[in-house]
Symmetry: C2
Subunit: 210 residues, 2 copies
């Protein structure tokens, strides 16, 4: 996963499949305002707890956005090319909940079930998924809804190694609870999203075995 | 705040002050990949608890991105103009932590202190801010860091009404703890970000008065 090279930045092409920006104009209390937004899919994510190993199951991915931001913080904002030996790719590797976008006309639980199989290799029936909560990601620019689920699995539910489909490079990791607790301790610095930490803290407050 | 009209969508102008997209190209394990990203500022946010009223202090704002997403979910994706009587503006009003971007060369605690004054009207010294944790917002597209703080205030610390500066329209709201607990109950549907809910849950798990 960390074998990354030839990093360079350029202009956004007009046909980007990832980012579809547009402008919204409106009048609020008589004042004309505008906002530039992005059209993105809604998504689901799943907190997975393995009762056999007593560990939480997460995924790791190289995230270009996080790498870019970490490199910029190191003072290399203006470079078009980035030296991957000076700024190691692990700066951009995030720990995440198993997750996926809602790009099919299926119930959210079914989409979550598919992601658990594709990314993490666990084959469960969707009625084993417990809905945690729904919120709005990216309130500045996307407003997309994300629904969080919780699922307990055992080693018997594992039917494949996981790792994603269609060229995704995803590592599945299992972490013990004491390691996970460090992520939400005072002053913790996380290379993870607030949604990930919300899931971790929700587990610790509601599902942690006594 | 909800007096909103003349809503329309259009193309992103090339000089958008909000969204600065660009493409990153890289090679991972021999495969050339690309990602389209946005350059945004890092930010801070503050969980504020008022010991006098025993309430949490939040802000409410109209968020065009959330409004757009809510309207789209109602099936109106292709309209260039949106009927604000059919889709009430409150669909886009979010509950948030007091927050601000890091656009000055100041310590993060000082920026958080200024936001508490500008948005919520509380004047405190920055040594009263407790660092909660740091994470990466928008791991898909921005990777920007957000640092969360906690601060307890009393009514004596209030020196102004708050509401923001430079034409910001921000309502300050105080909510009792039992109302806040509903936001993280099973199946809760929130018009709020995961970072907001992380702050709420962190407060309930760590600071809620017994």
């Amino acid at each position: 996963m960390e074998n990354i090279s030839n990093i360079r930045y350029g202009a956004l092409p007009s046909n980007s499949p990832y980012i579809k920006p547009f402008r919204m104009v409106y009048v609020q209390d008589g004042i004309t305002k505008d906002a530039d937004l992005l059209k993105v899919h809604d998504s689901v994510c799943i907190i997975i707890y393995n009762r056999t190993t007593k560990k939480l199951i997460f995924v790791r991915q190289f995230r270009p956005a996080v790498y870019y931001a970490a490199v910029r913080e190191s003072g290399s904002e203006t470079d078009d090319n980035v030296d991957a030996t000076k700024y190691p790719p692990k700066l951009g590797i995030t720990l995440e909940l198993c997750a996926g976008i809602v790009d099919k006309d299926l119930p959210l639980k079914e989409i979550a079930r598919e992601e658990m199989l594709e990314e993490c290799g666990f084959n469960i029936s969707s009625d084993r998924l417990e809905e945690v909560m729904t919120y709005r990601s990216g309130i500045d620019s996307t407003g997309a809804a994300q629904t969080m689920f919780y699922c307990e699995v055992t080693d018997d539910d594992r039917v494949a190694a996981g790792g994603g489909v269609d060229g995704e490079m995803i590592d599945v990791v299992e972490l013990p609870i004491d390691e996970v607790e460090n992520m939400v301790k005072p002053g913790a610095k996380n290379v993870s999203s607030p949604g990930f930490l919300l899931g971790v803290l929700w587990f610790l407050c509601n599902k942690k075995p006594q």
